[in-house]
Amino acid sequence: DAGVTQSPTHLIKTRGQHVTLRCSPISGHKSVSWYQQVLGQGPQFIFQYYEKEERGRGNFPDRFSARQFPNYSSELNVNALLLGDSALYLCASSTGTGGQALFFGSGTQLSVL
């Protein structure tokens, strides 16, 4: 079975632009979460979606938004990019039941110039 897939793998944008990152969860997983990992730090929680509804939101500005589609894939959108948005963006999927581990994709490396 395929794992969590993310696209694109790398992306270069300039300040002020908009970006869309995509994620396909493991088959059968209904929950998708997004994390931001800045170089040298642990991942930080951005969003969780379950059955197309937002279950949680981390301490990120409104420039960050996300959605989950009927097939459980997900998009993360970031508007008005700042230099500080440069990071590895990780998507993780899970069954959505309590205590089940998250399975992470390889991430999208976003560079904002």
Partner: protein, 115 residues
């Protein structure tokens, strides 16, 4: 809110020597605890998890971690490391119960195994 402290940012160790990576957490509610490993240019992979029951949990590749509620710790240990264990290790917590997947991660510990 939860927080995780990984006391060592880098740990060098010789091949076949034992290693302990330390993790302490803070939380006002019961938590689930996890260790993830990240190899260069890759995402995170689950190493092991503690949900309830036995406080000692083991992974398939020889790592183990012990949940100590009184010391709020979840240290990761391996009796004999291999070159292939070189990676970054992250400790994470989330409130226990259904549906909560807001993992709080520590800053990570880079394990370097020296031949």
């Amino acid at each position: 809110a939860q927080s995780v402290t990984q006391l060592d940012s880098q740990v060098p160790v010789f091949e076949e020597a034992p290693v302990e990576l330390r993790c302490n957490y803070s939380s006002s509610v019961s938590v689930y605890l996890f260790w993830y490993v990240q190899y260069p240019n890759q995402g995170l992979q689950l190493l092991l998890k503690y949900l309830s029951g036995s406080t000692l949990v083991e992974s398939i590749n020889g790592f183990e971690a012990e949940f100590n509620k009184s010391q709020t710790s979840f240290h990761l240990r391996k009796p004999s490391v291999h070159i292939s264990d070189t990676a970054e290790y992250f400790c994470a917590v989330t409130p226990s119960g259904a549906g909560s997947y807001q993992l709080t991660f520590g800053k990570g510990t880079k394990l370097s195994v020296i031949p």
